[in-house]
Amino acid sequence: MDFDDTAAEAAWRAEVRAFLEQHREELGARRDGKAAAQARQATLYDAGFVGVTWPVEAGGRGGTPMQQAIIDQETARLGLPALVNLIGIGMCGPTVIAHGSDDQKGRYLKRLLRADDVWCQLFSEPAAGSDLAGLRTRAVRDGDDWRVDGQKVWTTSAQLADYGILLTRTDPDVPKHRGLTMFVVDMHAPGVTVRPLRQMSGGADFNEVFFDDVVIPDTERLGAAGDGWRVALTTLMSERLSLGGGGTGIGPGIEAVARHVAEHLDALPPDRQVLARQDLGRAYVAALGSRYTGYRQLSKLSRGEFPGPEASAGKLAGTRTARDLADLAVRVLGDDARVATTRDGDGFWQELQAGLPGMAIAGGTDQVLRNIIGERVLGLPAEPRADKGVTFRESIAATERTGA
């Protein structure tokens, strides 16, 4: 048992670190705007540090998940902003690699890694969130094209995106998982409308996307017609692989919270100090538990194994801990905790607190994650499904009859 890099990992880390530190100013510049974000990613790609796990022919380096984990660690260490095409790299690209034509791969993949094009993932809908396979956006065959009508929602980065992977219903007369088809959609095509949604935190990272008779050539289909669920599973599995670190990347770092509490502790009445230390102790232990559980997953990656469904525990626990840490951090502000910024004009912790409830929903709700762990790790039986064995059209009709 050890926490050390292998010789190869250490050499890679040194290479990554040297580059990041040398270009720290350029990569850390938090200038807004798509072009600035694209330039940051292009700099990293041209140096060979984006998409290392992707095959060489797809524009990657054929590297290991451990190499990617080291890049993530070093990026986090310097507090550098996330890549603009994180979703493209983690989800859209791997789906194109697995199911796209040679022509699509040639046109899309390298440009995606360089952020020449920004990508988004068009899955969730107003009536299909956790129950993704219940989606209703229709694609109807029209000669060599498909015509798409419907609405997607909670689409992160759609306001920046040039392309998206789009999951549609192409056959409502088969059970819901079987009538789906995946496409690459040009986000600048006529009939695509993106409307930013404002989150409870005030930020606007995600969007509604409307499709009004949007034409997609059949050559932009990913996988066979009707095989969209299997294609979507590729996307979702890639998402799991791209989320390392045991959930410790969610919310504030524990060291930062501890420093913040240390600064405010003496100003609290003695009984409040005792309570604050209990809260900090509990959240800190939970965060350490997540961190070292993440190291167990990294050890698997280092051995060349892949994380299984148990990796879902990292997000579940990390979200809870992040909320507890943020709650404590706000609480020790004292009277200033009642307002959005302190007398010194600092609103960091209040803003963070408003962003965390969403973390328990985005990327798999706590409840869905518990189902995954319960069923696939503990082997507990699934809940019976009311829409099993009926066509999508019938299940919709049944829902409408019961008024649900």
């Binding site: 230390r277 900090l280 070292y292 559980t293 190291y295 167990r296 189902n371 069923e375 507990l380 039986p381």
Partner: protein, 322 residues
């Protein structure tokens, strides 16, 4: 990064499970609770097996192994509610380093308990040699034990009236703290074993038991309770390994790691045991079911080597001082 048990540890765990399961079990713990027997496998067998003295140097007749080795065994001991605790052996091995009594411990001639305070002492029942702190020194002597009415009989708690003591180490504050931290690590390892075993009982039952036409484990209300315990148990496993690794290789990390493991073990075992009683419904709070034996273990262990509140406080103090 290789933060995982290797094949040697897995083999050690299997061997420990084979040995311990021949005599220790929840049934044996229940019998002890009814006053029928002492704890199993008991001090003599535990020492004879060599598992209890893994961390005693080979020259003293021990196994010359690591704290992690002992933690791997302690997890198995916890699963079976074995007694006496490996915590007492782990601490004795630290405190008696360089003392002739250590060879006596490994030979089964000396039975040691550690006296932290005036309260009931872990594994006092059956002990003949007591180690205690006094004015910064480590003292050793005989004592008179008065067994107390047990919540968990496998913990052998009794009041100790120390007889005439001799000073073993005059300036022992640091040594004493290391013994406590290694002890907390092993206590957490026993808690890990108990928590993961009681979780297994709950999961098995949730698959078998049917209500309203289906297995109760299919209901999210039941499933999610068990998942929350699973997540905590796996985090505890990570913290126990880290603390044991720190005890062996990174003394600077041990204070935080041991306090975190101790705190997590207290919280997790209690949560696991109470959840599994609930999952079982009526049978879960009967005397004949095993769930309450793990519940008893949780209700006692959380107050050993400082309570959970003290451990969380220590974590916080270390965190803000970093």
């Amino acid at each position: 990064m290789n933060f995982d048990l290797d094949q040697e540890h897995l083999d050690l765990a299997a061997a420990a499970r084979d040995f311990l399961s021949a005599s220790a079990s929840p049934a044996a713990a229940r019998k002890a609770l009814e006053g029928g027997t002492g704890v199993r496998p008991g001090r003599a067998e535990l020492v004879k097996s060599g598992f209890a003295t893994i961390t005693v140097p080979e020259r003293e007749g021990g196994g010359g192994g690591t704290v992690l080795d002992l933690a791997v065994v302690a997890e198995q001991a916890g699963r079976l509610l074995a007694g006496p605790s490996l915590v007492s052996f782990a601490r004795a091995a630290v405190l008696l380093d360089g003392d002739t009594r250590l060879a006596g411990l490994a030979a089964g001639e000396v039975s040691v308990a550690i006296v932290d305070d005036s309260g009931p002492v872990l594994d006092a029942v059956g002990a003949d040699t007591f180690l205690a702190p006094r004015d910064g020194a480590l003292v050793c002597g005989p004592g008179t034990v008065t067994a107390r009415e047990p919540i968990d009989p496998t913990r052998g708690l009794g009041d100790v009236a120390l007889g005439e003591t001799t000073v073993l180490v005059p300036d022992a504050a640091e040594l004493w703290r290391r013994g406590e931290r290694v002890g907390r690590t092993i206590l957490a390892a026993e808690g890990l074993g108990a928590a993961s075993r009681v979780l297994e009982l709950g999961v098995e039952y949730a698959k078998q038991r049917h209500a309203f036409g289906r297995a109760i484990g299919s209901y999210q209300a039941v499933k999610h309770m068990l998942v929350d315990v699973y997540v905590e148990v796996e985090q505890l496993r990570s913290l126990v390994w880290w603390a044991a690794w720190a005890a062996d290789h990174a003394p600077g990390e041990l204070p935080l790691a041991a306090a975190a493991a101790k705190a997590a073990a207290a919280t997790t075992l209690e949560h696991a045991a109470e959840t599994v009683v609930q999952v079982h419904g009526g049978i879960g709070f009967t005397w004949e079911h095993d769930a309450h034996l793990y519940w008893r273990r949780s209700k006692v262990d959380r107050f050993l080597l400082g309570d959970d509140v003290a451990a969380y406080d220590e974590v916080a103090r270390l965190a803000v001082a970093r």
